[in-house]
Symmetry: C2
């Protein structure tokens, strides 16, 4: 198995707070976005959905649009895009893929600002087995 | 069933791009955080984990720490906290709960900046049935 080179320096298993459950090495690539005025968000979403459908190393993809519109809390960000990978290696492969690079150029041209966070997922409260 | 008053104005089912799958009304409360210097993050995490364990309306809770440290992309944010609720009503109940209010006061005192987004989850690429 490849080493998880991008994992946090401190092994998550050694954290001291409560019962933790790591999601089997899952890594998320999370983007918060504010689009430029005039951008057709549906077009961007279609491009991203198409890209992700073609990329087998992307385990899952979900997104959402803020509904509470509390500017003080959202800082103007309106959309969240969350890609899940089975490992940090899969994330690296995705980020380095030419299809991602091509889409990223289009994406960056459409946004006013963005925050990106990449993190190994720690499940502190797992969903119930038959989550609604 | 209560109306989903905080849902996006445009029903998600009417979106035009590709095959979508809504997560059965799931709503996420997502926080990106930069802590103040000197804050013991483990203590904050323990407080949040304890709070969430006591609050039945929180379906699941996961968090993570950014591992790529690309300041240009993270804007200095280091941690992600993601709470999932079965409905917008459950999110409202959580936000209005006195235990949440008590914790939020401690939490806000520990952070230098935060972005919060609340969104109905749209699953554009579902995880494989036996996700690793």
């Amino acid at each position: 198995m490849a080493p998880r080179s991008t994992h946090a320096a401190k092994p998550l298993e050694e954290e001291s707070f409560g019962v933790l459950e790591c999601a089997m090495g899952e890594v998320k690539h999370l983007c918060l976005v504010k689009f430029k005025e005039g951008v057709v968000v549906d077009d961007v979403l279609k491009g991203m959905t198409d890209l992700v459908a073609q990329m087998d190393m992307v385990q899952s993809f979900e997104w959402g649009q803020d509904v509470l519109n509390q500017e003080m809390l959202t800082q103007g960000f309106t959309h969240v895009f969350s890609l899940t990978f089975a490992s940090a290696d899969d994330l690296s492969t995705y980020m380095g893929h030419e299809r991602h690079a091509a889409f990223a150029a289009t994406f960056m041209a459409a946004i006013e600002k963005v925050v990106v966070i990449d993190f190994p997922v720690v499940i502190a409260k797992p969903p119930p087995p038959a989550a609604a």
